[in-house]
C-alpha cells in the first residue's frame, strides 16, 4: 500500500476568536534542528497587535463581568479539551526540541496548572478582599478588580507550560491578554489557540500572536490601550525598553525571569494579585 500523503497543518494566529493569517501576509519558516521545514508561521505585524488590542479591550469587560463560577468552569473546560489533544501538544513540543518524556511531562503539568488556576477564579477575591474598619459610620470594603488588557511577551523556553503560567493568572482574574509566542517554539501555543476555540472561552479574551520579538516588543509595551505588560525573560536591555515604554501610560510591568515553570512556587494566588486593582468603596451606615 502506498504511504498516504499526510495533510500538513497550517498554523494561524488567534485574534478576537478568529484564526487569521497576519494582515501583512508575512511569514517565517520554522525548521527542526536538522533544517527540515516544520511549518510556515505567521509573522505578526504591529497592525495585528493593534487589532488584537481592540479585540482584547472589547472582550475584557464581558469576561470580567461573567460570574467567577462561570470563569472557573471555562478554565476547567480548557483543561478538559487539552486532555483530549494532549498527544498532539506533546508531539509539537517534541518538534520544538523536547524529548518525548519531557514533552508529556510538560503537557500534563500544563493541564494540571489550568485546573489549578481554574480553582482560583472564585477564591482569590476572598483572599485579597478586606472589610476596613474605618473610624466613622461607614461600611468600607476593598475588592480586587482586573487591571484590564494585558500584553504578554513569552520567554523562549517552556512554550506551553510557560504560556499558561503567564496568562492564567491574568485570565483567572478577569483580564484579557495578547500573547506573543516564543519565536522559535510557537507550535504548541498555536494549537492551544484551537483548544481555546473549542472550550467556551469567549473570543478576544486570549489573543495569540506569533512573530519576531524584537519587531513587536516596543509595541507591546507602549500601546496606550494596554494596562499591563508581562515580560517573560531576563534580557536587561529588553526589560529597560519595556519599562521605559510602559511609562507612557503608567502601565504595570510584571517580570518573570524563571525558565523552570514546573517549580511549585508558581502555584499561588499572588501572581493573580499582580494584575488586579484594589477598589475600595465607602458607604454611610445610617437610617
Amino acid at each position: 500500500m502506498n504511504k498516504r500523503l499526510e495533510v500538513k497543518k497550517t498554523y494561524k494566529m488567534y485574534i478576537g476568536g478568529a484564526f487569521p493569517r497576519s494582515e501583512s501576509e508575512r511569514y517565517y519558516s520554522l525548521k527542526d534542528k536538522n533544517g527540515n521545514q516544520i511549518a510556515n508561521i505567521c509573522r505578526a505585524s504591529r497592525k495585528d497587535f493593534r487589532n488584537s488590542v481592540v479585540a482584547a479591550r472589547k472582550a475584557q469587560s464581558g469576561w470580567a463581568s461573567r460570574t467567577a463560577y462561570n470563569r472557573s468552569q471555562i478554565l476547567y473546560r480548557i483543561a478538559e479539551m487539552m486532555e483530549g489533544r494532549a498527544s498532539q501538544l506533546a508531539e509539537e513540543l517534541v518538534l520544538e526540541g523536547l524529548s518525548s518524556k519531557k514533552a508529556v511531562e510538560e503537557v500534563n503539568e500544563a493541564i494540571d496548572r489550568v485546573v489549578y488556576f481554574a480553582g482560583w477564579c472564585d477564591k482569590f477575591q476572598q483572599i485579597f478582599s478586606t472589610v476596613n474598619p474605618v473610624a466613622g459610620s461607614y461600611f468600607n470594603f476593598s475588592v480586587p478588580k482586573p487591571t484590564g488588557v494585558v500584553s504578554v511577551i513569552m520567554p523562549e523556553k517552556s512554550s506551553l507550560l510557560g504560556l499558561l503560567q503567564l496568562i492564567l493568572p491574568a485570565i483567572a482574574g478577569g483580564n484579557s491578554v495578547i500573547v506573543l509566542l516564543p519565536q522559535n517554539n510557537p507550535l504548541a501555543g498555536l494549537t492551544f489557540a484551537e483548544i481555546l476555540h473549542t472550550s467556551d472561552m469567549p473570543g478576544g479574551v486570549i489573543n495569540i500572536l506569533s512573530g519576531f520579538r524584537e519587531e513587536l516588543l516596543e509595541q507591546f509595551a507602549s500601546h496606550m490601550d494596554v494596562n499591563a505588560v508581562i515580560y517573560g525573560g531576563s534580557d536587561t536591555e529588553s526589560l529597560k525598553l519595556i519599562q521605559e515604554q510602559a511609562s507612557k501610560n503608567v502601565k504595570h510591568v510584571v517580570v518573570e525571569t524563571s525558565n523552570n515553570f514546573f517549580d511549585e512556587s508558581f502555584k499561588n494566588p499572588y501572581c493573580i494579585l499582580d494584575l488586579q486593582e484594589i477598589k475600595t468603596t465607602w458607604h454611610p451606615v445610617g437610617i
Binding site: 459610620s137 461607614y138 454611610p284 451606615v285 445610617g286 437610617i287
Partner: protein, 304 residues
C-alpha cells in the same frame, strides 16, 4: 396674605435624607467660631427669638404671670437686654398671659389640639384652637397625629393641619411634628413638607415631652425642607426647634445653621424661634459675661 400653593407633591413619595451626611454637616457647622461682636449680636438675637415656655401640669396663674414678667424684662438690672418673642402656655392660661403682657409687644402662644399626644377627635381639637384664639392667643402650636402619620395616612395629617389653620383665623400656626416619635429623618422631611403645604406658618420639632426633643440634625433637615419650599413657592416658612436647647453655645449653633441654610431673611423672631425656658438665663449670663468679662453664676439670675 399667603399665596395659593399649587402642585402639591405626592406625599407617599419620600424625599431621601442621608442621616450620616446630615450629622457630618452639623458637625462641620458646629466648628464655626463665634467671637466678640458677632457673639454679642447672636446672644441678643437668640434672646429675642425665645418662646418662653411653661407647660407643666403644676402651672398656676402666679407662675404664668411671673413668666410673663420675665419675658418682658429678662434681667431687671439691665434694661438693654431685649425681651423675648412670645410666652407659650396651656390654653387655660392664655387669658392671664394676654392680660399680663398687654402693651409689651410680646405674643401669646398656646399649645392646642390635645397637646402633647394629639389623641382627640378633630372636632375637639378645632374647638380648642378656636377657644385659644378667642382667649387672645396670637400663635397656636398644634401637634400632628403621629399615629396616623406612622400608619402612612398622610392625607389625614394634611387635612388635619389645613383644618387647624382655618380654625386659627388670624393667629399664626406652628405645627409640631414631634420628631422624636417620627424616628427617621426621611419622616421628618415628609412631615415638614405635609405641614408646609397644608398651611403651616412655622414648623416646630417637638412638644418637649418626648425625648429626644429638638436635635441639630432634625432641625437642619427641617430648615432644608423650608428652603426647598421657598425655592418652589417663594413662601417663607418659620422654624422653631423646641426642647433640649438649654445653653447659649447650643443656641448659637442653631443660629449658625439657620444663617448658613436659609440666610439673613430667617435671622429674626418672625422666622425663627427657640421653644425654651432655661435658655433665657444662660443667654443672660453669657451676655453679662461678654459685657463684663467675668464668668457668671446662675445664682444671680432669677429662675422664672
Amino acid at each position: 396674605m399667603k399665596k395659593e400653593i399649587s402642585n402639591i407633591p405626592d406625599f407617599t413619595k419620600t424625599v431621601p435624607i442621608d442621616q450620616v451626611n446630615v450629622e457630618e454637616r452639623v458637625a462641620k457647622l458646629n466648628t464655626r467660631s463665634i467671637k466678640k461682636e458677632s457673639k454679642m449680636f447672636a446672644l441678643k438675637l437668640a434672646m429675642q427669638m425665645i418662646d418662653l415656655t411653661t407647660l407643666e401640669g403644676s402651672d398656676s396663674p402666679g407662675r404664668v404671670k411671673q413668666l410673663c414678667h420675665k419675658a418682658m424684662r429678662p434681667y431687671s438690672s439691665d434694661a438693654d437686654i431685649p425681651k423675648v418673642a412670645a410666652v407659650c402656655v396651656y390654653p387655660t392660661y392664655v387669658r392671664i398671659a394676654r392680660e399680663t403682657l398687654k402693651g409689651s409687644g410680646i405674643n401669646v402662644a398656646s399649645v392646642a389640639t390635645s397637646f402633647p399626644s394629639g389623641w382627640a377627635p378633630l372636632k375637639t381639637k378645632l374647638e380648642e384652637v378656636r377657644y385659644c384664639v378667642e382667649e387672645g392667643a396670637d400663635e397656636i402650636d398644634m401637634v400632628i397625629s403621629r399615629g396616623e402619620f406612622l400608619k402612612g395616612n398622610f392625607s389625614y395629617i394634611f387635612d388635619e393641619v389645613a383644618a387647624v389653620k382655618e380654625a386659627c383665623g388670624p393667629a399664626h400656626l406652628k405645627v409640631i411634628l414631634e420628631t422624636g416619635e417620627l424616628q427617621t429623618l426621611d419622616n421628618v422631611r415628609k412631615a415638614s413638607d405635609i405641614a408646609m403645604y397644608a398651611g403651616a406658618d412655622f414648623i416646630k420639632t417637638s412638644t418637649g415631652k418626648i425625648s429626644p426633643a429638638a436635635t441639630q440634625p432634625v432641625t437642619l433637615v427641617m430648615l432644608e425642607a423650608i428652603r426647598d419650599f421657598y425655592y418652589k413657592t417663594g413662601v417663607k416658612i418659620g422654624m422653631k426647634p423646641a426642647g433640649g436647647i438649654r445653653d447659649s453655645k447650643t443656641a448659637l449653633r442653631y443660629l449658625v445653621m439657620v444663617r448658613e441654610t436659609l440666610g439673613n431673611d430667617w435671622m429674626n423672631p418672625d422666622m425663627f424661634r427657640f421653644g425654651a425656658s432655661s435658655l433665657a438665663n444662660d443667654l443672660l449670663m453669657q451676655i453679662i459675661k461678654q459685657q463684663t468679662g467675668v464668668y457668671q453664676s446662675a445664682d444671680y439670675f432669677s429662675k422664672d
